[in-house]
Symmetry: C2
Subunit: 334 residues, 2 copies
């Protein structure tokens, strides 16, 4: 690989002159500049980023450090959204998974610092509280799909309450008054928020909340099957099921079929998460809520770089803890 | 952020001495070294990687540059495998998606070169021929789940023929002689290879190949539904369906149910790809072939770094074009 010294030899100038050309210093004579650039082209010389960066201090790279979002299908749209926004700002997004290994996390932060990356996005696979290795990192940082208890770091998460509300409210709008809810049996933010939204939507529509219509199950198809079977074998069975996620909905489909009922004629089914592989391939295709993964990924980058954004201006230098709305993806199950 | 000059001031030595300590030069007096290290600790000084790398020339980073493997669920295990192997060698894996944008691809290669990354893995979302921007890149490179026509670059891909053979052969071992094959209607390596394996397995077992048992469809559930319905409405319907992928199998399930048949009693169903979200959640769970994504990801890194591996020794400096076997994931559908 040619060095700056090779270029200097080839051009017949000193390395210092080559360096001045590379730095775009205005005092270099035009014919000197032309000769150096010609030598660079002939040798196919690539200035080392190490050297360039020592001059400019900027790398134009963003690291997205996450637990496992690039190795599990669930939340890949966060990467897509962050990528799209990064490219808009001329930044390259590079993704490092830690698989929950603190040593890898530490090394990833170290990399970002040593290479003077512009910023770090710290992303979680699902909406949850995180504990960073470094509570106040010396590099611009935003939390994606997660938050830190102190609220001292900017973050973006889905609006779970609004999502649960809109899912339930849509079922009511379609004429349902008895709406079962098969939820997840772990108290994570998505569970608490969506349940809260479900209750609020019933209340908003003047429907009494009936705790016996809520089943808590594991988050898999088997849980959905069990939960749906229990709710639908009652004499006063619900006419609609709101499922905490699409896997639960997939299991509910099997229970509904087993009971000889049709979707959506006998039982409407509403999912959550819009996991494409499930939701669009089920028969009938599943109406569900889209988590704003893509939008959250974009927001994270925009928050870091869009100096003129309203969000940034409003917030001044304070951290912003932002929530983004979930939205309905309508297919054929309600 | 403190610089080497701050450390020098703090320690009371010259920047050159600080640099000698950072370079672990043996001629530095022990008390000088201790004073400099203490100053580094007090200031929380992090030597810039730019500077360190200009000394060592090694970054211990591998870039995995891919079209879309980190943004689509299909082949994420390639990242997991490459990560695991990279960590084994003390390397950090960083993933850059190009989304098929040649400018981004170019910039990713440039990044890898400028930062003196140890190596690049160029990965494709599905097994296919690729055309690199740079035919002979000046950085160690291996192709993952893809190949280049000339064969001049080392590559690793799944053994599609063996996969198609083993899938079909397993159905024969379970007593099936009339085996339908619902395949994909695009002539990509996975289509050609799996078809070839299907025909070879029939031949191996003394079963005449019957072209009317092969349906070509799109690769989605709708295609599987259509293809299965056509094959199963014949008087001499097959007793088993080998589906080119799990989405096709998912559609075949619906067709089988619609015809009032049971899986596996009336019709056995064999998938391909082991897309967890589909295969494990179907009812009954789908027996399918696992693409060796994880193993291919590992192989790519090992090929780059394991100087002592047999593969490397056999090959000398010649490129290696390696195929890895697919394997059966047995569930309940055959």
């Amino acid at each position: 690989m040619p060095t700056i010294f090779d270029v200097a030899n080839e051009a017949g100038f000193s390395p210092k002159t080559v360096s001045r050309v590379l730095n775009n210093e205005p005092t270099v004579k035009e014919e000197t500049r032309a000769a150096v650039l010609a030598a660079i082209a002939r040798l196919n010389y690539v200035p080392s980023q190490s050297a360039r960066q020592m001059r400019t201090g900027q790398s134009n790279i963003i690291a997205l450090i996450s637990d496992e979002i690039a190795t599990t299908p669930y939340a890949l749209d966060m990467i897509r959204g962050a990528q799209a926004a990064a490219w808009k700002y001329g930044k390259l997004l590079t993704v490092i998974n830690t698989e929950y290994d603190r040593h890898i996390e530490q090394r990833a932060f170290q990399l970002a610092r040593e290479y003077r990356f512009d910023a770090v996005i710290y992303a979680a696979y699902y909406h949850r509280e995180v504990h960073l290795i470094e509570s106040l990192p010396d590099i611009p940082l935003v939390l994606l799909d997660c938050y830190e208890k102190s609220g001292q770091l900017s973050s973006v998460v889905p609006n779970e309450v609004q999502g649960g509300f809109d899912a339930t409210n849509l079922l009511v709008q379609r004429g349902h008054r008895r709406i079962g809810f098969i939820t997840y049996n772990e108290p994570i933010p998505a569970t608490l928020g969506r349940f809260n939204g479900y209750v609020k939507a019933l209340e908003f529509n003047g429907i009494a909340f009936d705790p016996s219509l809520v089943g808590e199950e594991d988050g898999q198809a088997t849980g959905g099957y069990r939960g749906a079977l229990a709710l639908l074998q009652r004499d006063d069975r619900p006419t609609a099921l709101f499922c905490w996620n699409d896997r639960i909905a997939m299991g509910a489909y099997d229970a509904i079929r087993k009971l000889g009922l049709s979707i959506p004629e006998d039982v409407a089914v509403m999912g959550f998460d819009n996991q494409e592989l499930i939701a669009s391939q089920l028969h009938p295709a599943l109406t569900t809520m889209q988590l704003p993964h893509y939008e959250m990924g974009m927001w994270a980058v925009e928050h870091l770089f869009e100096q003129s954004s309203d969000v940034r201006q409003d917030a001044g230098s304070h951290p912003v803890n932002h929530k983004i709305e979930c939205y309905v993806v309508e297919r054929e199950s309600i």
